[in-house]
Symmetry: C2
Subunit: 346 residues, 2 copies
DNA sequence: GTTAGCACTCGCCACCATTGAGTGCTAATG
DNA sequence: CATTAGCACTCAATGGTGGCGAGTGCTAAC
């Protein structure tokens, strides 16, 4: 239904959206005829604008102001009017220069990516760490720290490392621990953590392990080690850049924005949703179903290595963000990070 | 010199500071006589206030407003007038309830502590992770990930765990690696990382190790593993609570505050400085020597376990923060965290 | 179908008077 | 002689007013 706009209407809508993106101010009919050279008078443009408003693509803050695009207007613009050219090799190289990950650990890379994302886009950068449960088991080792205390090191197929200290009642020698990890590494290799968990539950129920001390230890140890959900880590950078945007000029809107960016749960939910899809995804305003993000848009992409999806990153900005600039940045950064993960894995 | 205030002046200064702490507004002479029952008329109070202003403890934003305490005024208040009663066992218990660290890892505990600090104080909470270089060596293990790739796990005396993936040219078997770590654990036990580093440099220079393959490997591996400074991790919570404070009501001051809290380097510098001292430290306004923190105060304390100082935490708030409330909170939280670290260590 | 013309709307801003809290000074007071 | 009542003065904040200008919708002419 939205596609039945005449070409003229499309052109004018595009012009309005683009003017609004740079100015953040209501766009009037005169301004349009001046800036873009349609061979039309302001009056004709006004007629079209009235139509577009009728259809819900535009709205006016008050009678004597220009029009601003509605959420639906942006939606249409992004779906049908915006064309994102791919980055030239030169631009890619330029972009790549910003990232220096040599020898950095994942915990250092992620905030760094966030900083660069926000620096390039001038909005806020988001990077979410891999979801623990969906990583693939590769290796697990135990280290005896003291009587009754073990350090567990878990390495995922994608090369992510996690460690955790667990308490055990029984005191196991380093040799016993090695046996255990050998057993586990063979048994659990290639399974996702969720799969590992069900497998463990199942096997622990079986009667026969009661007679194999080592197996029993192995299974219960690994269960404890993998049991709790690791809190999703999310890095937010450049909140202060967002505050420069005119839509957040009032104290109230600043407070709301900072609150939103600080309560990471909301962002995690959103990025989680985009985790599934391939390529760049865009959430405009209320599409996110979170009132706190009114007036904001989110451009995200998941990054991954050949062993599966790993995490999500993106940029959050005002609804009138410069999509044609941000989308390639997010896209390419996700690709870049995927490649880094891949290379790291060897 | 500051101490030569008459008792009456002291009382009035105290009254002004305390009124200002709750109201955030200039305090007038009438308001004081009303709220506190000195047997004095407003006019007498005005005389004293004029003196205090002369001496630099107070200032007036403009002729027809009341007085507000200067930095020096707050300084004097904290040094000479404020008396912080210790928390009752009951209050301590109440406070302790907020913290639930059972089975949490350090990376989870620290942001949690920040959140609680900010929640209790209604200002922003800061928690800085231990400085890597000043931790004490306890154990180091190597795990072969793939050809030429090793995972290094380092455990400090205080029970902190760090891991890192390093590249090696030579392919070493797990058995060789064990030899190496046995050697290192014996050799380096009890030294701080800085000491370890100099020792490594020294030994690597020595001629004799050229003939002992294992020693050579051990030393160069551990050098690579410990070589780079881990970026200080700092957690900031509750920035949005700060925005509720009237001193940050204007868009500009909000922006500046958020920028400051976001550029963690500044905060790291400050907390670093407080690392050295024992007990609660207070930085008032420009005392921090950072213009960005104008109008802010910082209450910090370092936390540690018996093996040495470990990290720093604190609260950042407006200069007129409620010190009598915040100081015990920071103090007790640091003690609590110290105890947790201690217990964790077994 | 397009456009010029025009009356109308409404946010923005500068101006102004009023208000009220608070001061400093002075002279009266116990 | 310290204290205080009285008073003139200052100045931020508040609210009301009018002009300006950008922009609209409508109508009639092209």
């Amino acid at each position: 239904m939205a596609d039945e706009l005449s070409e003229r209407s499309q052109n004018i809508l595009e012009a309005i959206v683009e003017d609004y993106i740079v100015s953040a101010e209501p766009v009037g009919s005169r301004a349009i005829t001046r800036r873009h050279s349609f061979n039309l008078s302001p009056a004709s443009v006004r007629n079209v604008m009235a139509d577009l408003e009728e259809m819900g693509f535009l709205c006016s803050p008050h009678t004597s102001a220009g029009r601003i695009p509605t959420e639906k207007g942006f939606q249409y613009y992004i779906d049908s009017l915006l064309q994102i050219r791919d980055l030239s090799p030169r631009e890619k190289q330029e972009l790549q220069k910003n990232y220096r990950f040599n020898g950095m650990k994942m915990e250092e890379i992620m905030p760094e990516v966030g900083r660069v994302l926000s620096g390039l886009s001038k909005y806020a950068g988001l990077v979410m760490a891999p979801k623990f449960t969906s990583t693939v088991f590769r290796q697990m080792e135990f280290l005896r720290l003291s009587r009754g205390q073990l350090l567990v090191i878990y390495v995922s197929e994608s090369g992510l490392v996690q460690n955790k200290v667990i308490e055990v009642s029984e005191d196991l020698s380093q040799q016993q621990l090695e046996q255990i990890s050998n057993f586990l590494n063979q048994e659990l290799n290639g399974l996702t953590i969720s799969q590992v968990r069900s497998k463990l539950e199942e096997e622990l129920k079986e009667e026969r392990i009661r007679f194999d001390e080592m197996r029993k230890n192995a299974l219960s140890l690994s269960r404890v080690a993998l049991q709790d959900e690791v809190v999703n880590q999310i890095y937010v950078s450049g909140a202060s850049l967002m505050l420069e945007q005119p839509e957040f000029a009032t104290p109230q809107s600043m407070k709301r924005l900072i609150q939103t960016l600080e309560s990471k749960q909301l962002l995690i939910d959103l990025l989680d949703r985009s985790q599934q899809a391939q390529g760049v995804q865009i959430f405009i305003g209320s599409e996110s179903h979170h009132a706190e993000l009114e007036g904001c848009s989110l451009v995200t992409s998941s990054y991954s290595n050949p062993k599966g999806v790993v995490g999500t990153l993106g940029v959050i900005g005002p609804m009138r963000m410069d999509y044609s600039k941000v989308i390639p940045i997010v896209d390419f950064t996700a690709q870049l990070l995927s490649r880094v993960l891949d290379r790291d894995l060897e």
